[in-house]
Amino acid sequence: MTNNKKTALHSPEKQLTLEDKLFLVKTKKDTVSHIKVNSKMCKHCASKMCLIVCPAKTYEERKGVIEANYENCLECGSCRVICTDGAIEWENPRGGFGVTFING
């Protein structure tokens, strides 16, 4: 009984995964990426902060190359700001494309 009570008080709501959350975002996908990554520069980057900072995990490292899954992007721009080498060329998606926040 005590155990149950403790669980009820402390159990978080059924946690949504990041994928679940991204599924909730209204997005109009463009066919061209608004993000370009200069992989040559990334090879010398020790921290690779873009992989961690992105709230949508847009960036992935595959065989030492950083790739941007631009469809996930929430357009906050943190990756561009946190990249000290300027390896991320980030432009806004074309007009009308990208995310639309309802409850911003």
């Binding site: 159990s11 902060m49 709230p55 995990k57 946190i82 926040f101 409850n103």
Partner: protein
């Protein structure tokens, strides 16, 4: 190429206020928005500070789509699984004008403001992304979306494109924005029945609660977590400094940090039964008074978040500073139009107006806030734990005489911390933070 008198890039609070003020004075103004409607790309914590809004639009209170007025405020310190809080429900905040603080959602609020600007005569073009300015010699003379034919010229342009301002960099008003100049915020909109929200937070009618959580709310990072009540949903989020995030070398991403905040034993019961409707992210300017971009050049003015005009201290005021800057930019353009001179020499008037107002005076006043906390992270991480332990000991119920408990607390604290250090930190906190 087509030409108008004024182009405003971005339909947020600063751009739309500027457009409204100009249109009302009979100036031809076009607002260009990259989203499908004004507010579609915008996100804020959730409190619309409306002192400027209600001054320009007296029908704001009766007509605008605000959710709740901020009748209750809570500033909370989390230490491990514990909470210590300062809860503040003054009657003054619960009567008109409700301290000019309202929970809102940007989509609906920015569209309401856009309708006001349109009614005054401004044109708004949605779904158009400005990728760069056009120049003639050194003067900004127009905008382009990249294509050769997608251009529009103007006498003067107002850049109101928000925190992730690419255009102010391209116009060389600032160097590339670095991590020290921005925070990131992620938030969820969590739906709960209206009656549940009102019972859970102790609210009546359109009264709302704004809870800010410091200390262990964001994994020891420089930032905080928050819960704001809408009518039938909660805005729940975390925000923290990007440079501190880099320095900390955490492997948690902002969504992990939000999830841990949401499942904190103090927070989780407040969200119980809620359904996440949306997940969003945005940057917050934290340029600080000493590192603001250049605010004007020939043919160009910068307003709102793009200009770094946000109070980064406890106050978190952004919208009213943005709207004030929009008005000052409009007044400057009106004066420049009379002189038929849109050069930097005339537009300089804008910065003077900002300096004389609360906008730059408040920014100047809180300019050491973040740098002080960067250097004194013990204020966020160690002192809350210390205070919590002292309080737990102080209120313990046992058979020891209280006088002995007090002596023991004193001895233990003396062993762990230097009082001169604490006094010094507290003095620093008093002069830099409050």
């Amino acid at each position: 190429m087509d030409k108008v008198e004024v182009i405003i890039v971005g339909a947020g609070p600063s751009g739309l206020t500027c457009a409204y003020t100009l249109a009302k004075a009979g100036v031809e103004v076009v607002v260009i928005e990259r989203g499908e409607y004004p507010g579609a790309k915008n996100m804020f914590g959730g409190i619309f500070f409306s002192s400027i809004m209600s001054k320009i639009f007296p029908d704001f209170f009766a007509d605008a789509p605000w959710e709740r007025f901020v009748g209750k405020r809570k500033f909370s310190l989390l230490a491990g699984n514990s909470e210590m809080a300062f809860d503040f429900t003054p009657s003054a905040f619960n009567e008109p004008p409700y301290n000019h603080s309202f929970m809102a959602r940007r989509g609906s609020m920015d569209q309401w403001l856009a309708k006001k600007a349109e009614a005054a005569g401004a044109s708004i073009i949605n779904n158009y992304c400005v990728s760069d300015f056009l120049y003639e010699h050194d003067k900004v003379v127009g905008i382009t979306s990249g294509g050769d034919h997608d251009t529009l010229l103007a006498d003067v342009i107002v850049c109101a494109e928000g925190a992730n301002s690419l255009l102010s960099e391209k116009a060389r008003l600032r160097k590339k924005i670095m991590a020290g100049r921005r925070s990131i915020a992620v938030k969820e909109n969590i739906r709960l029945p209206r009656a549940v929200i009102e019972d859970r937070f102790g609210l009546t009618g359109r009264q709302g609660a704004a809870y800010e959580y410091f200390g262990a709310s964001v994994q020891g990072l420089l930032g905080n977590g928050f819960i704001y009540t809408n009518q039938d949903s909660l805005s729940v989020g975390v925000g923290f400094s990007l440079s501190d995030f880099t320095k900390t070398q955490t492997d948690k991403n902002p969504n992990d940090i939000l999830d841990e905040f949401k499942s904190h034993p103090v927070i989780a019961p407040l969200l119980r039964g809620g359904e996440t409707m949306e997940y969003m992210a945005h940057m917050i300017p934290s340029d600080g008074y000493d590192y603001l971009p250049k605010l004007y050049r020939d043919g160009l003015l910068v307003v709102g978040d793009a200009a770094g005009l946000l109070n980064t201290s406890f106050f978190h005021e952004g919208v009213n500073l943005a709207m004030a800057s929009g008005i000052f930019a409009a007044e400057t353009v009106i004066a420049a139009r009379e002189q038929k001179d849109f050069s930097a020499d005339t537009l300089e008037f804008y910065e003077e107006k900002l300096k004389k107002s609360f906008v730059l005076q408040d920014l100047k006043n809180c300019k050491n806030f973040l740098s002080f906390l960067h250097k004194h992270k013990s204020l966020i991480n160690d002192y809350p734990v210390l205070l919590n332990n002292v309080l737990v000991d102080y209120f313990q119920v046992c058979e020891k005489p209280k006088i002995q408990i007090k002596k023991e607390i004193f001895q233990r604290v003396k062993k762990n911390v230097k009082f001169t250090r604490v006094a010094w930190d507290m003095w620093g906190a008093w002069s830099n933070l409050i």
